[in-house]
Symmetry: C2
Subunit: 323 residues, 2 copies
Amino acid sequence: MTDIALIEAAAARMAGHIRRTPLLNAPLLDRFAGRRVFVKAECLQWTGSFKARGGWAAVSALAPEVRAQGVLAYSSGNHAQGVAWAAALHGVPAQIVMPSDAPAVKIANTRAYGAEVVLYDRATQDREAIGRALAEARGLSPIPPFDHAEVIAGQGTIGLELAQQVAEAEIDAATVLTCCGGGGLTAGVALALKARAPGLTVRPVEPEGFDDVARSLAMGRILRNATLTGSICDAVLTPQPGDLTFPILKRLCGPGITVSDEQVLQAMVLAFQHLRIVVEPGGAVALAAAIFAPDLGEVVVCTASGGNVAPALFRAALDRFAA
Amino acid sequence: MTDIALIEAAAARMAGHIRRTPLLNAPLLDRFAGRRVFVKAECLQWTGSFKARGGWAAVSALAPEVRAQGVLAYSSGNHAQGVAWAAALHGVPAQIVMPSDAPAVKIANTRAYGAEVVLYDRATQDREAIGRALAEARGLSPIPPFDHAEVIAGQGTIGLELAQQVAEAEIDAATVLTCCGGGGLTAGVALALKARAPGLTVRPVEPEGFDDVARSLAMGRILRNATLTGSICDAVLTPQPGDLTFPILKRLCGPGITVSDEQVLQAMVLAFQHLRIVVEPGGAVALAAAIFAPDLGEVVVCTASGGNVAPALFRAALDRFAA
């Protein structure tokens, strides 16, 4: 069960290994958005996304003799890199199950961190079944992408940093928007802020058409996405909120928000122009909401969760919105 | 005369106004470069370049009654934004003389910070003469782009941060590469490191064909560039090293290094891929040298000095090196 103590313990194990990412803002971005927008730049984290935190937290929490057998993860790409990187730094093997249509850069980087990558077909195969079989065959410890107490705790360390950073910026009330797939980041940040900065309210952001979390929150029970293909936001496409994450979201978060692919692409370009950071589509949904969604108040904090974007897609975004 | 005391005083005046930018690195970038590469990400600084530091240092150092009259700067773009931004935050007017061929984004941003922009023709007009006439007409205080004790001190605060950051990374010897135009950044960083991290040696980096500083260092006297057009690295194109900066460079720096436009474009793409930061050509010359120049030792620290890049040029870099 993730709570503030587990998050603080994860933060302690991360010291010296995980970056305290900057909270960025820019007057010209604020002018465009019509409100103050603060961006937690987790694209600058090791491996290019916040998933390095959950990976490190989970791998470091294993008993040494268990960890030595190796770890296994299934992931569309950022969790893959986070776990591969954390395993490499702990000197243990990692096997990563990735969809064959994951961005090439994510597959290549996961291999570059030293992990063995096993590809599967997202449309016809069940990654959890594949992962279970592989884990049993080699005695690997599975590190799920979000529904895992230590993974949630690892992502929650972002909330600890945010609590300090908004205090330094003399902000005591704000809406905090998170890029939300299965809810690990959102749950962790919500738990940390509830304990350390209770004036901040977390709201999850998803791509239009893949709003399982928003609908689940509205209905009060877990609902699934109808499909998992057809969005540019690969990093936040998950079947449904987790059994561990959803109760936390339901207890602590405000309503979900959705954004269009067009808004996401424009948010990526505004981040390029005004913050000089590279954000991938799934990592830009919260920024897109921070800029474009109505009725969020005068101060919005958002996560820029990852920056592992295919160059062709980034070029297309620039073509579309910075011509 | 800039010395460590003036740099420390500038740092004290900047507290709460200037960002302590992160020192980034990435294992996959190190693998590509064949050495450890640390990047001081000043593209994440306010206004998108380190020039916010010199601008703030100089504007804040003026006597209040003098400052109230307003300030004037001539600049290809980043110093323009730095001074415009600093003047706006001090509540004083700014007039900025910019070449008509400066990147449109830099002219637009300078205006957006509230400054009055006066355009001139880089090939036929003398910006210093224009600036002097304007300054006299309105009683404005000129803030030169590099040859000014407080501007050098402001840029030198990067050196103070670097000294702390390399110590945190347990590095006690390294080559420090700076993006070098007139030498303000290089001189300031060299002074700060001489006092706070004497195991680090600064070497200035310039674009091929615009290597006035490298040639001046080699000859021991100030030499000029033959031309100031024809490079993509607009931010570091200056006629010659300054009367204040050059003696500091001569006393403290190692030999200059030059890089090709091709190396600069590829460095921009590697920064996009591995560090998820946006770096402009002139701000990427030091990173290009850190990656491609021979015989720099096992650990190289470089400045990524700015990120105000025209989207079309960034797309071209991605087309060329991330296809």
